[in-house]
């Protein structure tokens, strides 16, 4: 799955390279900047992956945690081991968290790498109009990856909970991905504006603040608090469900 994620920036970079110049204002954000500065491949790839592809991979990993073991029958042996139910949940969530950190990082770094290989690299102009050198730009790229990692932690907690509900891993994966899509659809409906700040996907694309000089941390902190709330709520639900679950698979 990490390879699939890495394929996205490669695809973007190659497409831009072989095609003629992209007219400004069309396609995903920053696409028109790639030809001037290869580092933008990373940013563009992350923007493209956020709505579906990253949640999809996270849904697969998080949905598989408990349901995958149950479906395979190994859950009973882990518990008889005895792994301990709380310990198992924590380890499984930690494993998902590692994936959540690595996934955006792969997109960002592959993007920067392929961009640097195919296009010129130079100073980057930020949204605030300031210009930073390429080294500083890579740091910003990593910051965005970290922002996305935090953003996806809430979804992985939801996936963990869904995974404790079923013995069918595919069902848990699909449910998690569907939930992430539903949240984004709700986020797009102006009639539900009161709900928007509470949706786990609401701040997913708000990493623009990290591209200003000086960096504005407001959205980062707000997002982290929201995701923390989701982790607490769905972690508790997963605990409540799993601790009393009859393992019959």
């Amino acid at each position: 799955m990490l390879c699939a994620l890495a394929a996205i920036p490669v695809l973007i970079a190659v497409a831009v390279r072989v095609s003629s110049a992209v007219p400004p204002g069309r396609g995903p954000a920053f696409l028109d900047r790639i030809a001037q500065n290869g580092l933008f491949v990373g940013v563009t790839a992350m923007v493209v992956s956020v709505p579906l592809f990253l949640p999809l991979t996270v849904g697969v990993v998080a949905g598989d945690t408990i349901a995958g073991e149950a479906g395979q029958g190994t859950l009973r042996y882990l518990l008889v081991g005895p792994a301990g139910r709380i310990r198992l949940l924590i380890v499984k969530y930690a494993g998902t968290a590692v994936f959540v950190v690595v996934a955006p990082l792969v997109v960002a770094l592959t993007g920067a790498g392929i961009g640097a290989a195919l296009f010129p690299v130079g100073p980057v102009t930020l949204l605030s109009g300031d210009t930073i050198d390429p080294g500083e730009a890579v740091v910003r790229l990593l910051l965005i990856a970290a922002y996305l990692a935090v953003s996806l932690l809430g979804l992985s907690a939801i996936g963990l909970f869904v995974s404790t509900l079923t013995d069918v891993p595919v069902g848990a994966m699909a449910a998690t991905v569907v939930l992430s899509v539903v949240a984004q659809v709700l986020d797009a409906l102006p009639q539900l504006e009161w709900l928007h700040p509470w949706l786990f996907s609401h701040y997913w694309l708000d990493f623009g603040d990290l591209l200003r000089q000086p960096v504005s941390w407001d959205s980062f902190v707000g997002n982290a608090l929201l995701q923390g709330g989701y982790i607490a709520a769905f972690g508790a639900l997963a605990y409540g469900r799993f601790i009393t679950k009859d393992v019959l698979s």
């Binding site: 029958g73 190994t74 009973r76 042996y77 882990l78 518990l79 008889v80 005895p82 792994a83 019959l248």
Partner: protein, 356 residues
């Protein structure tokens, strides 16, 4: 409850240390009682056969004992500790094979065992490699240790499952259908493995529906039927509790039946289910031997102390004397002890229908 409680039953009197002890253990799934008031008493050091037809609640009971499912009611003690409160203390001392082996097909056999061992917080990482190797050796899988489990045959997976139960020294082994899918050599190896484990002081709890196997390796057994425990005790007690019966081979089945009836026994003719009275003339004319069966009424092992004054006590030799005195030509006479299979079928019913 104490060791002498209602669950102790035939096999264990007071004072015998029990490895597994349940009182009124009950598990309800919706409307269905999967396990219904089971009082198990498994003595320490026993090889305990847990018998029952498919769907009788064996595996559910095992899941309850191992803390995989929560009991609806009743109490459990495993290795002297109250369950499921002391689950974390007890499970490291228990090795289990539950409802067939389950492994990660994309990992090798040894890697699977290492991963399972890592789940045990008491499994020291320093000795892990050696323990995995010795467990594989005990089940004869050393040569296939580095093969992917995906490429294992059913019997090899079963062996690997047993190896998983043997990763650490265990006081109790719970083996659910351990010889499932094994070839005759494998079955023999498992039998000798179980014996060697028991010789080492471990209690082995074997669930099975293979009666011959249980008769060969077990010292004690219990029989489940439709969620209830219908019998439990040492193997000898279980067999003895069944009625012994006599078989009379004679060309005079009519007279013989009368004699047996006079002794208070109920005679049945074996050959084709004809009643003994109706068969009389036909059998006599042909001159062929007919086999008559009669259950000895006393539900006690042959040779046990006789209940003084009981007119039900009919000794086999008295039957022969009475038959001969009545002029019956006795060509064969035998007392047959009920086999475990007879006992099993008597308790759980015949046929394929799964009792609900």
């Amino acid at each position: 409850m104490s060791a002498g409680g209602p669950g102790a039953g035939l096999g264990a009197g007071p004072g015998i240390e029990l490895s597994i002890e349940t009182g009124g253990l009950t598990k309800r799934f919706g409307q269905q009682l999967a396990v219904d008031g089971v009082d198990l008493a498994v003595p320490k050091g026993a090889v305990f056969g847990f018998l029952g037809p498919n769907g009788s609640g064996k595996t559910t009971t095992i899941r309850l004992l191992l803390g995989l499912a929560t009991a609806t009611g009743g109490s459990m003690r495993v290795l002297g500790e109250e369950m499921p409160r002391k689950l974390a203390d007890v499970l490291p001392r228990v090795g289990a094979l539950v409802e067939g082996p389950a492994f990660y097909p994309f990992l090798s056999g040894a890697a699977n065992l290492r991963r399972m061992d890592a789940a045990d917080p008491f499994g020291s990482a320093a000795t892990r490699h050696a323990r995995v190797q010795s467990a594989l050796e005990r089940v004869g899988l050393t040569h296939a240790a580095d093969k992917l489990v995906r490429a294992y045959s059913l019997g090899m997976k079963q062996r690997l499952g047993i190896a998983n139960a043997l990763l650490a020294p265990r006081e109790l082994l719970v083996l659910d259908e351990p010889t499932n899918g094994l070839d005759p050599q494998g079955t023999r190896e498992v039998r000798s493995l179980v014996r060697s484990l028991a010789a080492g002081g471990a209690t082995v709890f074997v669930s099975s529906h293979l009666l011959a196997e249980v008769e060969q390796i077990c010292t004690h057994a219990a029989i489940m039927s439709a969620g209830r425990l219908v019998a439990q005790g040492t193997l000898a007690e279980l067999r003895g509790a069944g009625h012994a019966r006599i078989r009379v081979l004679t060309p005079d089945p009519g007279t013989a039946a009368q004699v047996l009836t006079g002794l208070g026994l109920t005679a049945t003719l074996s050959a084709d289910g004809r009643t003994s009275a109706g068969a009389a003339s036909g059998a006599a004319v042909s001159g062929a031997d007919a086999a008559l069966f009669a259950s000895l009424p006393a539900a006690r092992p042959v040779g046990a102390a006789r209940d003084a004054g009981s007119d039900l006590a009919v000794e086999p030799e008295a039957v022969v004397a009475a038959l001969v005195a009545a002029g019956v030509r006795v060509r064969g006479f035998a007392t047959e002890q009920a086999s475990l299979e007879d006992r099993f079928v008597a308790l759980t019913g015949e046929g394929f229908d799964v009792v609900q």
